[in-house]
Symmetry: C2
Subunit: 462 residues, 2 copies
Amino acid sequence: MSDTSPGYGITIRVEATTTSSPTSLIPAAIVAAGGTLTALDVVESHHDRVVVDVTCDTRDADHAEEIAAAISAASPNFNVKKVSDRTFLMHLGGKLEVASKVPLKTRDDLSRAYTPGVARICLAIAADKSDARRLTIKRNTVAVVSDGSAILGLGNLGPYAAMPVMEGKAVLFKRFANVDAWPICLDSQDTEEIIRAVQLIAPGFGGINLEDISAPRCFEIEARLKESLDIPVFHDDQHGTAIVVLAGLLNALRIVKKEMSEVRIVMMGAGAAGNAILRLLFLSGLKHASVFDSKGILHNESKADNEMRRWLISNTNVENKTHSITEEMKGADIFIGVSAPNVITEAHVESMARDAIVFAMSNPDPEIDPALAQKHARIVATGRSDYPNQINNVLAFPGLFRGLLDAGVSKITDEMLVAAARAISECVKPDQLNENFIVPSVFDPAVSPSVSNAVYKIATEK
Amino acid sequence: MSDTSPGYGITIRVEATTTSSPTSLIPAAIVAAGGTLTALDVVESHHDRVVVDVTCDTRDADHAEEIAAAISAASPNFNVKKVSDRTFLMHLGGKLEVASKVPLKTRDDLSRAYTPGVARICLAIAADKSDARRLTIKRNTVAVVSDGSAILGLGNLGPYAAMPVMEGKAVLFKRFANVDAWPICLDSQDTEEIIRAVQLIAPGFGGINLEDISAPRCFEIEARLKESLDIPVFHDDQHGTAIVVLAGLLNALRIVKKEMSEVRIVMMGAGAAGNAILRLLFLSGLKHASVFDSKGILHNESKADNEMRRWLISNTNVENKTHSITEEMKGADIFIGVSAPNVITEAHVESMARDAIVFAMSNPDPEIDPALAQKHARIVATGRSDYPNQINNVLAFPGLFRGLLDAGVSKITDEMLVAAARAISECVKPDQLNENFIVPSVFDPAVSPSVSNAVYKIATEK
């Protein structure tokens, strides 16, 4: 099987003599070198030579070079002019722009959108601050805030390198829920400075989406901002993941016909996401769970140096077991991994209960190779787009914020998160539901409206 | 003369019987009540009645009510259903939105714009921070930052009421120079907090436009940010105004055939804008100036409690005069007002030198009624759009930032500001130049490119 990815897509420009069969030999060279051909365009044609752009997916940067070399080697009449990386091309100049919603063609337009007319809008808001939601962009705007300390699975890359992810997030907000999100990457990793900066920029935003901020700082930042701001604050790495895991698990349990209150879950990873997932699962009826970190199973004597960890210790492993992951996996119904690559084995999965469910979400490399897990588990989910059942936060955050903004919510409650999860799970219709389809496609247009309606309903019922 | 304004435009919906002559009597009632009719639309027509939307400009909110009452009084068969304020309608939901520059239709798009492809972009920037300008929105993005302490001429309205102005500014940035600007209104008026917040959000922006921050805090905020950031920092209320004043004055001097080095200027107002204007004028050859604040002429014994004021005191009024504005205006060539309404008299202008030039820029009410000033001065300019020679910052800031961003400038120099002013003045062609046309129209499409080219040239020459 090919393991090329469009994330490593390249376009190669080749000049060739017309008699050298470029449109057959170049594709053949690409395929022989392991590339996946996706397009071929003749961009220039002369009587003696042609210029051809071939586009293909590759495995990685080295593979792209190998493919270019293979084309050069295929004929002395092929001249590779340029190798363009399609992902880099897409990012040139960034992925966002600002658009005006008002016309500005005449002096009359100007006198309404800016001075002198705008003065009356300012005075109306000064007289009644709540008019800001009606007369400014606040109502539809979310700040996507990061300090760059935990970018994807890549680690602490800082605020400049965080921007492409936060821009991408803003693109997703717009694409899936028409939310106007703006990336704010902060040049500090000091908890107090981050909290204060977000408080200071809050007037112009209707919500705050915290992103890729490392644990345990993310807990305090989220908690303190929730307490001090009158707009919703959401840490996507925790709660977005938790929503989609709950959605997937609700459908997985339907398939295996087990009840949340009766299953036993083993979780690997005691970080931000793991904590948020277990909170939502307990709210949804879960009773039996244990959590492992790199030191082993959490129990009464485990280090409890922050509130989230204390919560995990007091709510999981009530029998206070101290045995190994190998022992704990025996007979477990569900494994949830939010930790590191390859930390459980095929034998572990084999030892689980009948109809085992495995969520192995370490990215890009899961806690166990999904192909191995599938040999023994009935349902396997990962964070990857190239396997079935991708646990992708894109299913949750756009619709969630759409509902929050429309309802003018000031605090997110756990009930809203559970409602979002149920809405996502219900987008998989009974006749679609099967072991390889426990969450809807990210491109399913029903998901975002379903989530926003569910959240709006809960938010406005109270 | 009517003094209605499109900034106070309203649309009135009237239901009327078909036999009551609504399309002639309603317009007549509006005109009789002093409104300026701009549109009439029959929006519903039935056999016995019609619904008509009439749009007109009014003087103010009270006038709008008078006009609605006049329509009601014009016929017992007219029923005023709704009076809509067109300026408020334009602001509903705010004036900006975020647009994606990349397609997001397929999973391949997603894997390039977001994970996993985006990881490679992050790693490239982490390896070389300067790539942020190439691969993120930083290159084309400006933060429009205010604390709401000095909104237009309205005073300290706070960050929520500041948003409509900052959004309007962002609309102008996009409209006139395709710069992506985002409003950031800060929930603090503490100098240190503002400085730190701007430093923290800087990674995602290519420039900072400070706006409507009150003096003297604005001086320190600008100076400290310029010193600490590697992107251009611009305080529009100071330097934007200064650029356009210099542009207008260069053309005014051409008309009256006087040299900058020989004229004597009297300035009223020792605030942020006055200071910046004089700095640019001195750089352009000015030698003789004096400045008045509310306590009288600045001289060697005047209070000098900040650096900007010390600079004014040591550079103006070199003869150390202590007399009144009445004495100082006698024989002056140029008056520049950046202070308060009606602080000079017709007699003051009459006492000025031959071919006097008056820039009365207090807004909305100038230092002297322009009609009175025109009786004695050869050239009169104001900040208002309803008189000739409007000194409007829109002529400067969009093109200036376009040039700064394109050149990748890290510090703005006075030479760049002077180059911008010269470029604006040169947009008025010799055959267009006259007493009532010393600056180009804000809608002149040549202005922004001329300014950006001039700034780019200076910035890249060094």
